[in-house]
Every structure is written in structure tokens, then in C-alpha cells.
């Protein structure tokens, strides 16, 4: 009955905000592996935002290159090997900058919507 799952209304993550969401999630939770990042975003957004898993790993690779996150292999509570990501100093800076910009844009959009 997979259809049951797919009927849940979910929105794709707005373009350009994936990095911000990943960074924010890592900033709050410390160390997470890829699955946890996706699940956490989904859970905190109360199932509204679903990370497209296909884009998660390329995004993480790019963030590694940029030096925003670091990755290390660790062991899960279920005793399985998993790669844990952690936000780096550069990542925090980037997060702050992106949040600032996002707020500005959202504020502006809301002003446009309320104007009339």
C-alpha cells in the first residue's frame, strides 16, 4: 500500500534553501548522517518539507568542497557504520548570511502580498 504514503501532501524544498536547511539542522543537532538530516528536516517541518534524497548527496559533496561541513565515519546506535556530518566554522558564517538574506526576501514578499 505504498499509495497511502504518497497521498500525504508534501512540498518540495524551495529552490536555493536546501543548503540553509541542512546547515541549520546540523547547527542545531551537532552530528548527523545523511538519512538523519533528511528525516530531521521532514520531521521538524511537520512533514511539509521533504528533502529530495537524490539532491541531498550532491549537495553534501558541494558543501564539503566549500568547507561548510566536515564529515567523519562513525557508528550508529544500531552499531552500523555511517558518515556523520558536522557544521564547520565557514558553514556557520554561511548559515548566518543565508538566513539574513532569506529573511529579507521573505519579508519583502510578505510586504508585497499584504500591500494589497
Amino acid at each position: 500500500m505504498p499509495a497511502k504514503h504518497e497521498t500525504v501532501e508534501r512540498d518540495e524544498i524551495p529552490p536555493g534553501t536546501l543548503y540553509m536547511l541542512i546547515l541549520k539542522t546540523l547547527a542545531r543537532s551537532g552530528e548527523l548522517h545523511g538519512y538523519e538530516i533528511a528525516s530531521t528536516i521532514q520531521a521538524i517541518s511537520q512533514d511539509v518539507l521533504q528533502v529530495e534524497e537524490g539532491s541531498l548527496y550532491p549537495a553534501l559533496q558541494r558543501m564539503l568542497i566549500k568547507g561548510w561541513v566536515t564529515a567523519e565515519w562513525g557508528v550508529t546506535r544500531g552499531n552500523r557504520r555511517a558518515r556523520y556530518y558536522r557544521i564547520a566554522k565557514l558553514g556557520r558564517k554561511q548559515l548566518a548570511a543565508e538566513v539574513l538574506q532569506f529573511d529579507r526576501v521573505i519579508g519583502a514578499i510578505q510586504r508585497v502580498l499584504q500591500a494589497g
Binding site: 505504498p2 548522517h33 545523511g34 538519512y35 537524490g54 553534501l60 568542497i65
Partner: protein, 877 residues
């Protein structure tokens, strides 16, 4: 700097790409597992859960590629594939690869080596602060001959000039140091106190000269070079203030120059003393000093030249010195231009020649690549058919070209290293900064740039040729040449022949110049002549009579050496670089030389000198033992000098003064033949010969000339021993046969000639290879036609004629283009030519003959192949 860190991260990730691959794979599999578990915990069958997770995740290979692509490796991967393919291609044609790499290595290597020399000598700034503002100041006579400066002009300019920051004069000095150890003669300079200030360097130990050091009879002080300080004084830090004995006098060391100091005006100089110029006796107006100056910031050389020329004429008008009776000019050059003046034309011409070699090499390689491209046409057609884009094919060809160029470049760097060593070893003694020539960063950058450029060109030409028409050959699939391809490779061969012709003509002109150079009558007989320089040093030689006696005794001892047939002494040796010029005035000359520079070379020679040198006597008598101190003063002058001053009059018995107006009068007793003193290329020969005993000063340095029956060089040891048997403390230097001295006078020309000959030979071989290659192609292409012709009764001679005619056509076109090129190019070497016009018909004809012969030789093998074509089998095929 973030992007640098990013680059570094990318780079390190690339090195660990396999681990990264595995990590990514494991990570994504783990993610899928968790997702599948999640679904099955919600009640799905495990297979369904897995499928759903998979579906949600997407195509794992694509994702993998994409994540991996984030690192920007895709192009590297493609490059690796291309390079591997290129390497495989070349391995399948090792002969072609080796030949190509060899040609390229030679071209790139020699060009890089020559560039390193040209760059160091002509373009790298001199190792002085503000080197661009250092100038040298010369006087030129109306004939254009350069004269050394005079102290009088120096002093006047130093007092009056407003555009000069500082001015200095200098002259060579070769003091002998005596100590507990063996006596040693140093190369050195006597300089005015401002010398190091002009160069902008200071001693690193002690102090610089001050004006108080530099007055007549001032204190004996010296500054040592770093090398001398290390060599003779074990780098003793307390050297300043110590005394050394030079010329038998105590000199106090006041400074040591830094190790980095390069004394370009006299590279061998190891010791400097103050000039302490003796202004008495009118010597101030003798031309025997070099003058250098430093311009004030912002002053151009032209401005300075105008000011100085004006001031110099002002000084001369006020003081009216004897030696400035005729008009003269003052010229100002940058120090760099001055010290490279002699070699600049040669270097630039050599650089041009080597560039031609490189171009010819590239042309050849391009032709090789084109020919190969034709053979590979089916392969390309197949690849296009299999879906390779044109862009991909071009990339592949570019990679192959670059790959070849890089291999050639790497090998070429080895050639360059050898080349630089050879260049330094071959270089003429006058080559400035030869020791600084090396393969440094800029040279490697040049070599790298060249390699890349060459690779790009090699890639692009065949790529353009081939990528335009692979579609057509797909139909017939045969490696037949097409018209544009034929045309290109023939045009390239024509270009090659033309360039070879240019180089042949250039080296021919240089060869003829050198022949003319050595055919010049020096005015003396250089064969069987040994020369060496003897210098007296020590306090006892301050007594003139002691000096005379030493030289007399030494000469007597030398004359008694077995094998010596004649020997004599002279204060200056022709063609050796010696120059001692005095103002000479004839007491009564019908031609009052108001308009002429009337300085002449002054020789103090022992009786027997003219005979030993075999300078012909034209009139009167030679100098003899009777012409000694106290006897009436006798002088010889040379023939052209006499003819100019005494046209139709017997010069014998006329009288002249050497130096200032109050000098004594000498009577001309004889006229001898002209001798080239400065250079075989300069006609200036005005000379006056007197005996040392009748000369007012004493020459402390004399050259021995020794004539022998056999090999003069074999006498060197015995002659030196003879000199030392008189006084073992006197330095004997500059031992050489006169033939060597004459040869050294053409060293720069010979240097250029050797390189040109080598390059001309290389291009000739390359051009021959080009002709051969194209003709081989043509023969292969016309196989069927030749077969038919033979079947129809064409003789072997007809067939050979056909092939040779085709080759000759290419050569002919090449020669025509080359003729134009050579006319243009020969102006570049005009400065090095001597006694031969740059349009010398004999040279051009010679070059045509050589090229024609080589071209016919290159045709013969393909022609032979054409003759051997079996008509039966070709007709059947």
C-alpha cells in the same frame, strides 16, 4: 584565499578518489537500507519496501556521478582517457613518435637555451639599484671611432653637470701583491672616489672611497672583492685596517665588497684603488679613462647627452687642450646598452635563427601529423560513425598534439640544459654576463609557454584538416589524400625550404665575412709569434733605470732561449685590446690638421720590434740601439699617417711632439707599414713608435713578442723561465700565440657563425626530410599512374625525371620565397658582416646550389621507389 583552500581540498580529494567513491557508495546504500527499514516497519513486505526506497532515492548511478561531478573531475577523467588514447596511438607508431619528439626537443631546447642567454644579457636588468640610470660616456671622433675619456673633461663635467647625480672615471690596474706567499698579480681597477656611488653599491665591510682618498699622493688604500677576501684572507672579518703590499707599497684595506656585487665594467677585477690622478704634465687630456655616470631620477639619456655635449665643448673652448683640436662628439649610452653593444646584433640574429629552426621543426612535425592524419582517416570515420562528435575528435587531436609537445618540451628542457652549458663554453670572451646565463624561472616559463603553443598548433592544424571531412571518407573508407591536405603539406614544404634558404644565406654571409676578416692584412706577420705580458712591480722599480734594466735583461735572457729567433718588447700589442693614444702634432705639416682628430697610438718599442713583427719598412731606418736616452729623439710613423700629413714630401727629418705642447720634439727617422691596432675591421692606424729609453714616462707593463722557427706555443715555458731567471717576482701573464690573439679578435663573429652553421645544417636536414616526405606521399599516390606509364613504355629516366621535377618545383618555389626572406633577414645580421654585401650574389648562388643538391638527394629515394613499381601488379590491382 578561500578559493585556494577549496582548490587544495579538491586536489587532495582527487588523490583519494577511490576511497571517496567507496564512501559515497556505502553512505547511499546505508541511506537506502534505513529508508527500506522504515517502510517495512510500517508494514511493507521487504522487497516492496526496498523498491519504494529505491524509487524515492532515484537512480543511484546518476546520483553517484552527480555527487562526484561536484568535485569537478569530469574533465580530468576525459583528459585521462584522451591522454591514454594519445599514448596508445603513439606507441603504435614508435618511429613517428620518436622522430616527432626528437625534432620538437631540438627546436624547443635550442630556442629555450638561446632565450636564456638573450634574456640574461639583453633584457634582465643589471644587478645594480636603479641600473637604468647608469650611463657610460664616450667621445667619438669625426671618423666615428670611439675614444676613451680624458680626466680634464671628467673633472669639468663633474663640476658643472646638473643632470648627473654622480660621475666617475676608471682605468684598469693590475697590481702584483707580494707577501710571504708567492707573488700574485690581480686584475683590478683604479677608480675615482665616486665609482661605487655611481653603481649604487657599498662595501659590506668597511667604507667606500672618499674624495680625500682620491687626490694625488693620497693615502694608499684599497677595497677588496669578496672573492679575493675569501681566497687570500680566509674571510677574515678584521681585515679592514690591515695593510697589504701591492707593487711594493703598503696599501691599507678600507673595505670589502659584498658577495653579490658584480663588477660588469671589469668582471675579473678583484681589487680597487683610488685613481689619485696626476694632473701634471698635461696628462689630463690624454684619452685613457672610461667614464660612467648616474643620472638624476627622471632625467633621460637624451637630455643628459645634450647637456654633457654642451658642457664638454664649453670646457674644451675654455681650456683649449692639445688633444681636442678637431671636432668631437660626446655620446651617452645606458650601461646595459654599452656592455651588450658588441654582442647584441649577434645575439638577436642568433635568436632569430633559432626561431627559424623551431618553425621549420614545427612545420615538419605538422606535416608528419597531417600525413598520419590521412592514414588515420578510416579510424576517425569509424569513430564518427559510432557517434563521436566533431568536438570530441578535435579534442582528441589537440590532446595528441599537446601530448607530443609536452614530451618534446620535457626532452627539450634536457637539450636546453646541455645547450646552455655549450653556449657558455662556446661564448666569446667578451660576452657580458655569461656567468649569469642559466635556466631560471622565466626561462622555464618561456619553454613551457613555447611547448604549450607548439602543442596547440599541432593539435589544431590536423584537427581542422581532418574534422572537416571525415564524413566523406566514410563512404570510400580509403586513406586517400584530398586536395586541401595535399596543398597544405606542399605549402608547408615550400615554407620549410624558404626558411632553410634564409638560414643558409645568413650563415654563408657570416662565413664569407669571417674569411674576409682573416684575410685582412694586419700589417704584421702573426705566424710563429708568441706573446706575453710582463709587468714590473715593487718599490725598487719606482727608479726608472731599474725598470729599464729589468726589461733589457729579461729581453736578453729571452733572446738566448733556444728556438727563439727574434724577440722584442712593446708597450702595446696589436689586437690585444691595449690602447694608448696620445695627441701628436707635427712641427710643420702642410696639412694643418685643424679639422681632424690627430691622436695616434703611441708605442714604446725596443729596437728589433718592427723586425720581429715583420712590419715592412717603407722609408728611412728603423730604431736601433743608438736611440737611447740622451741621444737625439727618434720616432717612426706609419705609412698612411705619413702620406696624409706629408703628401709628396719626404717625412724623414720632420719633427713631431707627442702629448702636450711643451713636450720635446722627436725627429721622424723612418716610415713603416700600417698595423691594425684595435681591430682588423678598423682602419685607424696612426701610430708613432719610439724607444722606451727616449720616452718620458716609464711603461711598467710591456708585451714580449717572440718569433720562432717552429711552434711558438712550445716556447712559452722556456721564455717564462728566462724572464724569471732575471727576477722571479715579476708577473708574466697573457701568454698566447699571436694567431690566437688575432683569432680572439673575431670571437664574436665566430661564435655567431658556429651557431648559424649548426642551425642552417639542422634546417637543411629538416627541409630535406620534408621534401622526402611529401615526395614519398606523391609517389604512393601516383603508383597507378607510374605503373601505366611504365607499361606504356616510359623509361626509368622518364619516371625519375617526373619525380625529381616535382621535387624541384617545390624547392624552386621555396627558393623564390626564401630569396625575398633572405634579403629581409640579412639586414638583421648586417652589423656582423664584414667585407661582404648582404646581397652578395656568390653567397646566394651557393645557397641555391646547396639546396638544389639536397633537394635532388631527397627526391632520389622516392624516385627509386617509383621506378621499381611493377606495372603488371599495379595494373591488376
Amino acid at each position: 584565499m578561500l578559493w585556494i583552500k577549496e582548490l587544495v581540498r579538491r586536489f587532495f580529494m582527487m588523490l583519494r578518489r577511490e576511497k571517496l567513491d567507496r564512501d559515497l557508495e556505502e553512505e547511499m546504500r546505508f541511506h537506502l537500507d534505513l529508508r527500506a527499514e522504515e517502510y517495512s516497519s510500517r508494514g511493507l513486505m521487504s522487497d516492496d519496501a526496498r523498491a519504494l526506497a529505491q524509487r524515492r532515492f532515484g537512480n543511484i548511478t546518476v546520483l553517484h556521478e552527480e555527487s562526484y561531478g561536484a568535485w569537478g573531475w569530469a574533465w580530468i577523467d576525459r583528459l585521462f582517457v584522451d591522454v591514454r588514447l594519445a599514448a596508445r596511438q603513439l606507441r603504435s607508431a614508435p618511429g613517428f613518435a620518436a622522430l616527432t619528439v626528437f625534432i620538437l626537443a631540438f627546436g624547443i631546447g635550442t630556442t629555450t637555451a638561446i632565450f636564456s642567454a638573450v634574456n640574461t644579457i639583453l633584457f634582465e636588468s643589471l644587478p645594480y639599484p636603479g641600473a637604468g640610470r647608469i650611463v657610460t660616456i664616450w667621445e667619438t671622433s669625426t671618423e666615428g671611432a670611439r675614444n676613451d675619456g680624458t680626466f680634464g673633461i671628467y673633472k669639468g663635467l663633474a663640476e658643472r653637470s646638473r643632470l648627473l647625480d654622480s660621475l666617475a672615471v676608471l682605468k684598469p690596474w693590475q697590481p702584483t701583491m707580494t707577501s710571504a706567499d708567492e707573488p700574485e698579480r690581480f686584475e683590478g681597477q683604479l677608480v675615482s672616489a665616486s665609482y661605487f656611488r655611481v653603481l649604487g653599491v657599498r662595501p659590506f665591510l668597511g667604507r667606500d672611497f672618499t674624495p680625500s682618498d682620491d687626490r694625488m699622493n693620497g693615502p694608499g688604500v684599497v677595497i677588496l672583492s669578496n672573492k679575493l677576501w675569501r681566497r687570500r684572507f680566509n674571510a677574515d672579518p678584521t681585515i679592514v685596517g690591515r695593510d697589504v703590499t701591492l707593487e711594493g707599497n703598503e696599501y691599507s684595506v678600507i673595505g670589502v665588497m659584498p658577495e653579490s656585487f658584480e663588477n660588469l665594467l671589469a668582471p675579473a677585477a678583484e681589487v680597487w684603488g683610488p685613481l689619485q690622478y696626476d694632473m701634471s704634465q698635461g696628462r689630463a687630456w690624454g684619452h685613457h679613462l672610461r667614464t660612467i655616470g648616474r643620472l638624476r631620477p627622471g632625467v633621460s639619456i637624451d637630455q643628459a647627452a645634450n647637456e654633457l655635449a654642451e658642457l664638454a665643448h664649453e670646457i674644451v673652448n675654455e681650456q683649449r687642450p692639445e688633444t681636442y683640436r678637431g671636432p668631437f662628439n660626446l655620446n651617452v649610452f645606458s650601461l646595459q646598452a654599452d656592455i651588450t653593444r658588441g654582442v647584441k646584433p649577434a645575439l638577436l640574429a642568433i635568436a632569430g635563427a633559432v626561431a627559424l629552426v623551431l618553425i621549420v621543426g614545427c612545420v615538419n612535425v605538422t606535416n608528419l601529423l597531417l600525413a598520419r592524419g590521412v592514414r588515420r582517416r578510416p579510424e576517425f570515420a569509424l569513430r564518427v560513425a559510432l557517434g563521436a562528435g566533431r568536438e570530441r575528435l578535435v579534442w582528441q587531436l589537440l590532446t595528441e598534439g599537446l601530448f607530443l609537445a609536452v614530451m618534446g618540451g620535457v626532452t627539450g628542457m634536457a637539450v636546453a640544459i646541455i645547450g646552455v652549458h655549450a653556449l657558455v663554453a662556446l661564448s666569446p670572451p667578451g660576452l657580458p654576463r655569461a656567468a649569469d646565463i642559466q635556466l631560471n624561472g622565466s626561462v622555464f616559463a618561456f619553454g613551457f609557454g613555447l611547448t604549450t603553443l607548439v602543442g596547440f598548433v599541432f593539435g589544431v592544424i590536423p584537427a581542422l584538416q581532418i574534422s572537416t571531412s571525415p564524413y566523406r571518407s566514410i563512404q570510400d573508407g580509403s586513406p586517400r589524400t584530398t586536395d586541401p591536405q595535399k596543398l597544405t603539406s606542399r605549402a608547408l614544404v615550400v615554407a620549410e625550404v624558404a626558411l632553410a634558404f634564409v638560414l643558409l644565406v645568413s650563415s654563408g654571409l657570416l662565413l664569407r665575412s669571417l674569411q674576409h676578416w682573416f684575410a685582412v692584412d694586419a700589417g704584421f706577420d702573426a705566424s710563429h709569434l708568441l706573446t706575453m705580458q710582463v709587468q714590473t712591480s715593487g718599490r725598487r722599480f719606482q727608479e726608472n733605470s731599474v725598470t729599464y734594466k729589468f726589461f733589457d735583461d729579461a729581453l736578453a735572457a729571452v733572446r738566448s732561449v733556444p728556438g727563439v729567433t727574434m724577440a722584442a718588447l712593446t708597450s702595446q700589442l696589436p689586437l690585444s685590446g691595449d690602447s694608448d693614444v696620445y695627441g701628436v702634432r707635427f712641427e710643420s705639416s702642410p696639412i694643418q690638421m685643424q679639422t681632424e682628430d690627430h691622436s695616434a697610438f703611441r708605442y714604446a718599442v725596443s729596437p728589433g720590434y718592427i723586425e720581429t713583427m715583420r712590419i715592412p719598412l717603407r722609408r728611412g731606418r728603423l730604431l736601433g740601439d743608438g736611440d737611447r736616452a740622451g741621444a737625439s729623439l727618434a720616432a717612426l710613423i706609419n705609412e698612411s699617417y705619413a702620406n696624409r700629413n706629408f703628401p709628396g714630401i719626404d717625412p724623414i727629418g720632420q719633427r713631431l711632439r707627442i702629448g702636450p705642447p711643451d713636450s720635446p720634439l722627436y725627429t721622424i727617422v723612418g716610415v713603416v707599414g700600417d698595423v691594425k691596432q684595435v681591430s682588423l675591421g678598423l682602419n685607424r692606424a696612426d701610430s708613432v713608435y719610439v724607444t722606451p729609453g727616449q720616452w718620458k714616462f716609464t711603461d711598467n707593463t710591456m708585451s714580449l713578442v717572440i718569433r720562432s722557427d717552429g711552434d711558438p706555443a712550445a716556447l712559452a715555458r722556456a721564455v717564462r723561465a728566462a724572464v724569471w731567471s732575471v727576477d722571479k717576482d715579476q708577473a708574466v701573464v697573457r701568454v698566447a700565440t699571436m694567431s690566437d690573439v688575432v683569432a680572439a679578435s673575431a670571437a664574436e663573429r665566430r661564435f655567431a657563425l658556429i651557431l648559424f652553421e649548426a642551425f642552417a645544417l639542422a634546417t637543411l636536414v629538416l627541409a630535406a626530410a620534408g621534401i622526402y616526405g611529401v615526395l614519398t606521399g606523391i609517389v604512393a599516390e601516383r603508383t597507378r599512374e607510374f605503373g601505366v606509364r611504365t607499361a606504356l613504355g616510359a623509361s626509368r629516366g622518364n619516371i625519375v625525371g617526373l619525380v625529381v621535377r616535382q621535387g624541384s618545383l617545390l624547392t624552386g618555389c621555396g627558393v623564390l620565397v626564401g630569396l625575398l626572406g633572405a634579403v629581409v633577414a640579412s639586414s638583421a645580421i648586417a652589423a656582423m658582416l664584414f667585407g661582404v654585401s648582404r646581397l652578395d650574389p656568390a653567397t646566394y648562388a651557393g645557397a641555391i646550389v646547396i639546396l638544389s643538391c639536397v633537394s635532388v638527394l631527397a627526391c632520389l629515394v622516392p624516385a627509386w621507389r617509383a621506378v621499381r613499381i611493377d606495372p603488371a601488379s599495379t595494373l591488376r590491382s
